[in-house]
Subunit: 338 residues, 2 copies
Amino acid sequence: MKKQFLITALITLSSFASASLVDDAKKAGLAPIPTDKTELMKLIDNSKNPITDAKVELGKALFFEPRLSKSNLISCNTCHNLAIGGVDGVSAAIGHKWTANPHHLNSPTVYNAVFMKKQFWDGREPDLEAQAQGPMQAAPEMAISKEMAVKRISSMPIYKAQFKDAFGDNNITFKKIADAIGVFERTLVTPSRFDKFLAGDEKALSKEEQEGLKTFINKGCTACHTGVGIGGGMQKFPLVKAYKYANIGDFKGDKNGMVKTPTLRNIAQTAPYFHNGAVWSLKEAVKIMGETQLGMELNDKDTKSIVTFLKALDGKMPTITYPKLPAVTADTPKPEAN
Amino acid sequence: MKKQFLITALITLSSFASASLVDDAKKAGLAPIPTDKTELMKLIDNSKNPITDAKVELGKALFFEPRLSKSNLISCNTCHNLAIGGVDGVSAAIGHKWTANPHHLNSPTVYNAVFMKKQFWDGREPDLEAQAQGPMQAAPEMAISKEMAVKRISSMPIYKAQFKDAFGDNNITFKKIADAIGVFERTLVTPSRFDKFLAGDEKALSKEEQEGLKTFINKGCTACHTGVGIGGGMQKFPLVKAYKYANIGDFKGDKNGMVKTPTLRNIAQTAPYFHNGAVWSLKEAVKIMGETQLGMELNDKDTKSIVTFLKALDGKMPTITYPKLPAVTADTPKPEAN
């Protein structure tokens, strides 16, 4: 009986420890992706552009639609490839005519982008619908004009019908194109074991991952990497020490030097790191964050521990059936490669 | 009763007419995609590289794998986009560093490519496995070396496991990469209403489509566009009259001036047409074929009738779940944009 008591006491203690870690994580602002659909919808829906099945289906088609680029060759998915973590796996985005992003900016992941408080590295747009309008028109990205985008899509009768289903009428506008894409992107959330842990399932994270989470909180990472997005707000970068690779690209943040904190969800899937994609190693990225943002040199043990936790943020990507897009018609404006 | 007799007689006559059209089509060499799985396997399987579920799944991943290009940005699917008929929707393929195909060659569809007797416009490769090796290495396409392709794929442990499942061992070679891609492509067949018709379902084609089929046969189109692939052999082009757009690109066929006859399956989905992608209108393409290959000026009625039939060749594309590809590791060679 004495032994039994001891075991019970140990289990209780260990439960307390874990329960307390969940509490600590919540106190640090970390929050789970809700499993309850109504709760999730509260987080991801946009009252001005409500999520509907028809809009998601249309948005998916448009997300994969290369005819939304001047050349017919680049879609949203080119730089935010849903097969490889919602990114392109290169340092600086490359677009129309093989133009590298002029500021050497890295394509952020579209997965969980709905949880970001602002969009773009300089936070210049408030939501995904507004964001989606940018890269389509940007000369070094998809390089299409609003008018051309509308002409291309309007020329295909199947889209006309899909817009009617999605928006109630078949008057296709550039805003509606971006709105549908935004809605599809809102659905790209990836619940992970960490969410289960935050929801109370203590076994969802291994002992090592829980240690990593403790280190992550105790070192102060949650000052910026917090909320459901584990990131998504604006922060001064670099904050306390110069960024080692600041010479790559000319991006200096918004007018106040603020840079959007990227999500850490699926971070192990989305190398290279930072706004200029200068760093390929997650371990190096963590060390740099310690230096530039927290003013500390993280030792190898703590760095490794944090990386172990970060890998537990790999989430379950939604299953996506690759779309069948409509055929062009005689009215469809031709691609222009130059 | 007399009226009833007349109706019966008319129905019988009309059935005869259709039955005879099926016979005519078969005599002209047209053949259906079998619905029976064993029959289909006889047509699409390669005894040297048998189709297995594990190989198809691996091949699908590799088909969508941008890390198989030097830049990390181009996959097989870039030019053979399964969302838009297995093509890229541009006249001449554009690849690494935005290089247009030096011979101004148009990307042929990968759907039903398994039914082609040879691969590439000049028929220089015998099968899809051999074909798949070409574009990966070609400097204006994916621009990767065999060694780099193998290093990239071998660096991701999930691929190691997938190759073991597919090939019995995890020794990744360039040939195996191409073999897996080839197997996936072998499965990309698209049965259409025309196949149902050929299999005896006379109602599968409308009266107008049947008229179009008659015209298609009677004018001689089936001299080249025949077999299950409705194309896929080699033919002199142009044969009897100069090709109007011969000045676009320098391609002159193989050493004997022979050019591969493209499939007409899903032809309404795969504009622009011809080896140099010079023609966007299916009607114009049919007229040009009449002139260059058959030595006749097809009138508007016959042209329209043939186009009506061709649209009945739109097939059912297989449902493809967009893959989740492995994350790069510290061992994965970095992308090179130049």
